[in-house]
Symmetry: C2
Subunit: 155 residues, 2 copies
């Protein structure tokens, strides 16, 4: 490997507005994989020699991620803006640099505020299962909690 | 698990000056593990069910991490301040949100600027080898490059 190649591979400078040189901004996920709104995904570190991946998700004002759960865990750090998340039956307000740990099989969803985007880093295992969406009964159980229902309604 | 317990475990709010509720600020490493100066370590995500760890290191103005290499990789994101890093034979200037990938067995060191701290996130595999320090011949080879020598001297 020449030093030019090493240099190119080893550094990706931050650009304006939470973009990075050589990092593509992707759709959050396939449209059929569940309801979501106004969210993008950038893969910051993913390599066969790394057992974890670091991604950057950004939700536009008023947008939200899919309400889902799965066997794998998430370690999240908020990078910009503000919003809320649902973890299990608890709704949390989120500000820059807050840390969120999402345990296996815990329902979770992120929402940006109406006025600001919500951008966050997400650490996951490179090998992981696919998310599950709530069925009718599970969704009703979540909505039975008034604070959770208000969160799910974006109210 | 009660919802209070889940809430406690799932959120760690950011505090002032890059600290977090419930996260301890540790020494960087044991003093005998190599030369370094004015650097602290906070473990943000480390869990038996996560294959990767996310740590936050902060180097005070004028401080530096150990010059070392190892089989495992680092994925680094700068969070605050400015400084420089050596990766192989290349010296890079670092600013907030820059991404640095350190390949296996690549010599690397981070230095804060004289005026500002340098704080960065570091993604590593949970299972990883111990770092190696340069021997006399390896150190001489690095110093033979004038830009590398200036970096190592903190000049």
């Amino acid at each position: 490997m020449t030093s030019e190649t090493a240099e190119f591979m080893s550094l990706r400078k931050a650009a304006a507005d939470f973009a990075w040189e050589g990092v593509a901004r992707h759709p959050y996920k396939d449209a059929e994989a569940g309801p979501f709104r106004a969210i993008s995904r950038q893969i910051l570190f993913s390599d066969p020699r790394l057992d974890g991946e670091l991604r950057y998700f950004e939700i536009e004002p008023g947008g939200f991620s899919t309400l889902e759960r799965h066997a794998h865990m998430h370690g999240v750090m908020i990078l910009r803006g503000c919003g809320q998340c649902l973890i299990g039956m608890a709704v949390h307000t989120l500000n820059p640099h807050d840390l969120v740990m999402i345990e296996p099989w815990t329902w979770h969803q992120f929402r940006a505020s109406a006025a600001e985007p919500l951008g966050f880093l997400c650490l996951v295992n490179s090998a992981r299962d696919k998310p599950c969406l709530p069925n009718v009964e599970e969704f009703a159980l979540l909505r039975a909690n008034p604070a959770v229902a208000r969160f799910l309604d974006g109210a």
